[in-house]
């Protein structure tokens, strides 16, 4: 079966709140998309949290009640909507079910962890960020 070829596949694992890796990774994806590259993100572990249906902004902060900052999932969903042709976001079904995080936003698809290997050859570069 021929799969769509991507410039970069990024396996994103680990919890969004654990360290700065996720922020660096998301900004790297943004920069790749800005360069007209195609990107396939495979989210594992608690990174499956990023595409849950929910609030796209953070709760109001005490320093400025009027200004709203996007949440991490807000940033991700905006990217997916802005680059529907060049960004494919897959959430690991195994990790999602294990954590009861299966309520993903519409453009996100779920695939079993056992299928991840099939997509490796469909990317020019493969990068793994974080640990589950």
């Amino acid at each position: 079966m021929n799969r769509r070829q991507f410039d970069v596949m990024m396996v994103l694992a680990g919890a969004p709140y654990s360290d700065d890796s996720l922020g660096t990774a998301l900004r790297t994806v943004e920069q790749l998309l800005a360069r007209d590259a195609s990107v396939h993100v495979w989210a594992c572990g608690f990174a499956t949290w990023l595409t849950q249906v929910g609030e796209p902004v953070k709760p109001a902060g005490a320093l400025d009640w009027e200004f709203s900052f996007p949440s991490a999932s807000g940033v991700v969903l905006e990217m997916i909507n802005e680059y529907p042709k060049s960004l494919l976001w897959t959430a690991c079904r195994t990790c999602s079910m294990e954590r009861r995080l299966t309520n993903h936003a519409a453009p996100v698809r779920m695939r079993l962890a056992t299928q991840m290997r099939r997509y490796f050859d469909a990317a020019d570069k493969l990068i793994s960020v974080g640990v589950v």
């Binding site: 410039d7 360290d19 700065d20 660096t24 590259a37 793994s128």
Partner: protein, 99 residues
Amino acid sequence: MPDRWMFVLNRAEAVGPNVIREVASVLATTSEVAIYLAGTCALHHLIAPDPIPGTRVIVDRKTLRRVGWPENQVPVGVVADEGVIADALLDPKTQVIWR
């Protein structure tokens, strides 16, 4: 063997103190090696810079802003954003390692 390597180091606890250093040192003898420091790895660099001979250190701008640079005026070397990682990922001759 790639012509160029980029190590993106983000979590100090995930970086073996000697493993990355040894690997990067060996690679630097035959290839261009860039070390992109972000997160806690960038903080370690700010506190006690210990560059690996033959490698080019790049410090993440976002991390520096978060910790108060450039107000602190710490000389850190080359400062850049994730665009350089994107460029490395899109360069077929560059291998990117992320830890």
